[in-house]
Structures are given as structure tokens and as C-alpha cells.
């Protein structure tokens, strides 16, 4: 019963949100029903769309799992965007520097490079917070701004594809990475690549880390009470740094997967972070919080938001509705569902109180 209510409230909230979406669709002269159909079809209709949703969910899962680690340590990480790019850049540089090795050797190396790149981008705000008291919200936002410029600099400068210079087109993109550095497609004819299971495994690993290992125990202890952790002999500063480093490394892995799983086999920029990351650094926060800051729940939650993103493209294509509507709808869904938490807990206490009364009534 309690479970049922627990699930019913956010579902109702999502429905209410879609009701608002329907109003917006009506307002711009499109059929809400067709709109919903297009979105659901675009997100989950058929293997190809499902595969795209999974691919879209992949960076959200990874960033979300990282957010879980950070938030459980009471560290806010708004730096996902920059961490993704850092990982992607180091992956790219590494892959370009290596000769064309077989995938079995190449892939672990370049994925690790992504992890390292992200870890560096996470460790910087982590260490700044721990050792210089620089608030991490400030430093992660600022580092995003730094990373976008670094990306643009590298991709239009040192890393630019020589062919682009030769042809005079000068598009800011790197050379194609060696073939060994390509994430194999798992289901032929779709975009479903190895990055998807890697992300899922990573999320499960984060779960194990947080609740089954001493390191995770220390992170959570620091998250709940730095004072008590310190008195117990846990190095709070080191663990704060660890938390952002781990979050960053997951973001970096997401960046590596974005490059290695891209059709182009290369990194390119349109000058903005979102153009490369698809805003996964932000949407991952939403997915993680939506999943109750639990790495496992972050997986379905990421699929939901991944679905919203892929569904939006279909919506635009079939109804000629600007994709902006989907972004707005996304926002409304988030707002409604987080607001429903309170309603749910109210219902829970009410029901618990009722159960209590019945129990005590039975006793006397």
C-alpha cells in the first residue's frame, strides 16, 4: 500500500506535467495526443529509438552516478559539463597519440584516459574546497567556463584535423581516431554501443563503492557529519577531494564514451559545452536527484530523461514543434515531480499514523 502511494504520487505529478505540456501544444496549434504519441514513439518505439534513448541515457547515468557520490559526501557538483569535456579531450589526445592498436588494448587505455581527464577536472574543485575553502558551486561553474575555452582552443588549434586546414574549411574538429578506439556496436543496425553497458556497470560499481566498501563508508560519514568523521579519525579533506575526483572521473568516462561512441569517431565543437555534452552535465544532476541519489535508481531515471530528449526530436520532426517545447516540458516535469515528494511523505505519515492508531486500538 505504502509502495503504491509512493509510486502513484510522482506518476500523477508527471501526468499533471504532461497536462501542462498538452496545453502548450494546444496553444501553438498542435494536437497534444499526436504530440504525446510522437514523444513516446520517438523515445521507446522500436529498437532503433530504444537504442538511441539508451545512448542518450549513457552520459546521464555516469554523471548521475558521480553526482550521487558527490552529494552523498555533501559536495555539490555543477561541473559535470566541464568534466565530460576534460575526459573527452584526454581520450582524444591519447587515442591520437597511439598507433592503431587492436580494440582490446586500445579501448581500455583510452577509456582510462577519459577517467583520468575527468578526475583531474574534479580533483581541482575538490582540492580547492578541501584545502582552500573555495566553495565548489563557484569553482565548478567557473571551471565549466574554462573547459569550454580549452576545448575550443585545442580543437581549432593544436588538435585540428589537418585536412580541415588543407581544405580551408577549418571546422573545429580533430582527426578521425584510430579504428581500434571505436566502441563496438552491440546490436547491428542500431547505435547501441558498448558504452551503454559500461555505464550501467559503472553505476552498479558506484553502488558497491558507496555501501559495500570502507572508502564509500568514509565518504558517507563525511557527508553526514564532517565533525564526527574527523573525531573518528577519518581524513575529511582527503575524502572531500576524493568525492569530487570520483564524480569527475565518472563524468570523464562519459566524455570518453561520447567521443568513442560517436559516429564521427572524433571530437568536434560548435563552440559551446552543450554542443558536445548535450547538457548531460546538468541533466545528470536531474537524473541523479530524480533517482533519489541512489546510483541504481539513477539508471531508470536516466532512461526516462534520455527518452524525453530523444522523444523531443521526434516531436519536432512530426509536429513541426520547436524542440524548445520539449526543454520547457522537461523543466515542468522536474518541477512537478520534485514538488510531489512532500505530498508523498505527507501521505506516508498519515498512513503510518492511521496504522499506529489501529495497532494501539488493538492492544487496549
Amino acid at each position: 500500500m505504502k509502495r503504491l502511494v509512493g509510486a502513484a504520487v510522482p506518476v500523477t505529478a508527471a501526468l499533471v506535467a504532461f497536462f501542462f505540456g498538452a496545453i502548450m501544444l494546444l496553444a501553438i496549434g498542435a494536437s497534444p495526443w499526436e504530440g504525446l504519441k510522437a514523444m513516446v514513439d520517438g523515445a521507446f518505439g522500436g529498437g532503433d529509438n530504444l537504442a538511441r534513448t539508451a545512448v542518450r541515457a549513457t552520459p546521464l547515468i555516469l554523471v548521475g552516478a558521480g553526482i550521487t557520490v558527490a552529494f552523498r559526501t555533501s559536495v555539490v557538483n555543477i561541473g559535470g559539463e566541464g568534466q565530460i569535456v576534460a575526459g573527452a579531450l584526454l581520450t582524444t589526445v591519447t587515442a591520437l597519440a597511439l598507433p592503431d592498436l587492436p580494440a582490446a588494448i586500445m579501448l581500455p587505455i583510452v577509456l582510462l584516459a577519459g577517467i583520468v581527464g575527468g578526475a583531474i577536472a574534479g580533483a581541482i574543485p575538490g582540492a580547492l574546497k578541501a584545502y582552500a575553502s573555495v566553495n565548489e558551486i563557484l569553482s565548478t561553474i567557473m571551471l565549466n567556463l574554462v573547459m569550454v575555452q580549452l576545448m575550443n582552443y585545442l580543437l581549432r588549434g593544436p588538435l585540428i584535423d589537418p585536412a580541415e586546414v588543407a581544405s580551408g574549411t577549418r571546422n573545429p574538429q580533430t582527426e578521425r581516431l584510430p579504428d581500434g578506439a571505436s566502441l563496438p556496436i552491440l546490436v547491428p543496425g542500431t547505435r547501441l554501443h558498448l558504452g551503454v553497458p559500461i555505464a550501467i556497470v559503472a553505476a552498479i560499481a558506484v553502488y558497491i563503492l558507496l555501501w559495500r566498501t570502507p572508502l564509500g563508508f568514509r565518504l558517507r560519514a563525511v557527508g553526514h557529519s564532517p565533525d564526527a568523521a574527523r573525531a573518528a579519525g577519518i581524513n575529511v579533506k582527503r575524502n572531500v577531494t576524493n568525492a569530487l575526483t570520483i564524480a569527475g572521473s565518472l563524468g570523464g568516462l562519459a566524455g570518453a564514451i561520447l567521443v568513442l561512441g560517436s559516429e564521427g569517431q572524433r571530437m568536434q565543437t560548435d563552440g559551446s559545452l552543450a554542443g558536445f555534452t548535450g547538457s548531460a552535465g546538468f541533466n545528470g544532476i536531474v537524473a541523479a536527484l530524480f533517482g533519489g541519489l541512489h546510483p541504481i535508481w539513477t539508471i531508470p531515471s536516466s532512461f526516462l530523461f534520455g527518452g524525453l530528449l530523444t522523444g523531443a526530436t521526434q516531436l519536432q520532426r512530426s509536429l513541426q514543434v520547436p524542440s524548445a517545447l520539449a526543454i520547457a516540458l522537461n523543466g515542468i516535469v522536474v518541477v512537478f515531480v520534485v514538488s510531489s515528494d512532500r505530498v508523498r511523505s505527507r501521505l506516508d505519515t498519515m498512513m503510518a499514523a492511521r496504522a499506529e492508531m489501529n495497532d494501539s486500538g488493538g492492544e487496549s
Binding site: R170, G271, R317
Partner: protein, 317 residues
């Protein structure tokens, strides 16, 4: 679209037949997938207007604002699956996806740019603007209208055809004795930063400005307020400053689109790369008739264009 609820059944029937039977109405079905908005007064708008200017009956579907490549790829594939005959992938970054998709739909023509080659795909046409040429002409005009001899150029990120335009412009202006100062703001989308870059140029005595990317709208506002001349590129930007925009280099893709579609009519679905330039009329310097003294400029334009076309001037993109 455009189907009315009242007569839905009848419409559905015709729609179905049109989907299966192809272009019953005679209209060519086309779609465009573009990274920025259709009305960006720049890159995307230029292509939409060009398609609308085609001399044949086209039914156009638009997916714009898809700056995420995965989304664009999905849209391109979606249109192909729907049976759209000609799909314009309006963004260099979509090339890799196209390399995957195009072979799967050998009956469909894909038009992709900006790029100078078709990646060897038989059903892909490529297009590229020789933006340096129009830039050069703009530069020549700018040197002519500048009194201080200092001209400011605002770029987004030093990449892509922004560089071609900026370099061409600089070459043209410098060849005519002006000093050209160039600043890249580091962003394609920061309107406020471009506006302040314009202010910085004004403070340094530059009395003519130009710039590239959809974020220039703020900079045009600054030049409008200062009452100084502005040169536009990609689309006709006169609407932003009816009295101050001197001329715009406008991309008339229809010139090459017509050629591509003609080839398609003849059974060749792709395989050629096209450049729009001054010679083929794909690049046009549109002088703003409301600009005081517009009439005197046409001669300079014609002269310079002719010199570029006959090769006596190289624009050095």
C-alpha cells in the same frame, strides 16, 4: 501538415497515398536539419530562404536548433525513413552521421555542408561558401566608408567559415589602405560579449564594424547606436540597422541547389561538391538601398566582384 479536423478521414486517405505513392502533387519533398534557429539572420536562415527561393514546388520540413549531433542524426534518419526525397544536413558536424546513414538510403539525396567533399558517397552532395570572396568585397567597401581608416572585426571562435569571412574581409580592407583589428570573443552565442567587443572597437577609434555568427545582433545594436556603418554576412542583416548596414554578403544556396536537383532529376543522386561564390552568383553582395550613399557603392562592388571573378584579385581565404 495543415489537415483540418472536420475532414480528417478524407485527408488521412490522401496523406496515406501521398506517403506511399511519393510526389503525387508534384511537389518535391525536402527536409532540413540545422543546428541553429530558422530565423537566426545567419547560417540557417540563409539555407531556408534559399530553399524557399527554389523555382520548383517544394514541401519543406524543418528540424532546427539541433545542436546535439545525436539528435540531428536521429532527425536525418527519421526523414529518410519517412521517404523524404532530399534531405539537407546543414552543419559540418553532421558529416560523420551522414556517412553512416546515407548508404542505408541509396534512393535519398543528402545535401551536406559546409564541406568541400562528399566523403565519396554517391548520394551526397556537398556545398561550401567561398565566404572570403564576399568578405573581400565587404572589406573593400568598408575601407572606402571608413574615415579613421580603422575597422573592427568581431568573430566568435576562430574556426569554420567565420575565419574565411574575417580573413577575406581583412584582405580586402587592408588592400585598400585600412587597418583591420580582429577580436574573437570565444563564443558563438554570447550576444552581450559581442556587443561589448563592438564597444571596445569604438573606444579605439574604429569607425566601421563587421562580424560573423548569430550572436552579432548585439554588436549591430552598438554600431546602430553609434551611427557607424556595419557590414553583414550570411544573411541580409539590413533589418537590424536599416540606416547603418551598408551591405551584406548573402548566401544564395539556391544556385547550387538547383544544379544538384537537376542532377537528381537526371538520376544522379549525389557525388558532387559545390561552392557558392561570386562567380556563380551564390554569393551576392546586397547593398542596403536605405544606406545613404548606397548608389555610389554599386560600382565598387561590380568592379571588385569582376576582379575576383577573373582572378586578378585573390582573396586569400
Amino acid at each position: 501538415g495543415g489537415s483540418d479536423d472536420a475532414s480528417s478521414e478524407a485527408d488521412e486517405a490522401t496523406e496515406e497515398s501521398s506517403e506511399t505513392g511519393g510526389d503525387e502533387s508534384g511537389a518535391l519533398s525536402m527536409a532540413i536539419v540545422a543546428p541553429s534557429a530558422s530565423e537566426d539572420l545567419a547560417f540557417t536562415q540563409s539555407m531556408i530562404e534559399s530553399i524557399e527561393a527554389l523555382e520548383r514546388d517544394v514541401e519543406l520540413q524543418v528540424t532546427d536548433g539541433t545542436f546535439v549531433v545525436e539528435d540531428a542524426a536521429a532527425a536525418i534518419r527519421g526523414y529518410a525513413e519517412e521517404g523524404v526525397e532530399v534531405i539537407v544536413a546543414h552543419g559540418t558536424q553532421f558529416g560523420a552521421s551522414l556517412a553512416e546513414i546515407a548508404p542505408e538510403f541509396p534512393e535519398t539525396t543528402f545535401i551536406w555542408g559546409t564541406s568541400t567533399d562528399t566523403q565519396g558517397l554517391p548520394n551526397v552532395f556537398a556545398y561550401y561558401p567561398a565566404a572570403d570572396q564576399g568578405g573581400y568585397v565587404n572589406g573593400v567597401l568598408a575601407a572606402g566608408v571608413s574615415e579613421s581608416g580603422s575597422i573592427g572585426v568581431i568573430g566568435p571562435v576562430e574556426a569554420g567559415d567565420a575565419v574565411a569571412y574575417v580573413n577575406g574581409f581583412a584582405a580586402g580592407a587592408e588592400a585598400n589602405g585600412a587597418t583591420v583589428n580582429i577580436a574573437y570573443t570565444g563564443s558563438f552565442s554570447d550576444v552581450a560579449l559581442m556587443a561589448e567587443a563592438a564597444q571596445a572597437f569604438l573606444a579605439n577609434g574604429n569607425d566601421v564594424l563587421t562580424g560573423s555568427s548569430q550572436a552579432v545582433v548585439g554588436a549591430v545594436g552598438v554600431s546602430r547606436e553609434a551611427g557607424i556603418p556595419w557590414f553583414g554576412t550570411q544573411a541580409n542583416q539590413s533589418s537590424l540597422d536599416p540606416a547603418g548596414v551598408v551591405a551584406s554578403q548573402v548566401y544564395h544556396w539556391e544556385v547550387v541547389l538547383e544544379e544538384m536537383l537537376a542532377l537528381r532529376d537526371g538520376g544522379t543522386l549525389g557525388g558532387e561538391a559545390y561552392e557558392i561564390n561570386l562567380a556563380n552568383g551564390g554569393l551576392v553582395i546586397e547593398i542596403n538601398p536605405d544606406y545613404p550613399g548606397a548608389a555610389d557603392l554599386q560600382a565598387t562592388v561590380d568592379e571588385t566582384v569582376a576582379a575576383i571573378v577573373d582572378g586578378s584579385i585573390t582573396t586569400g581565404g
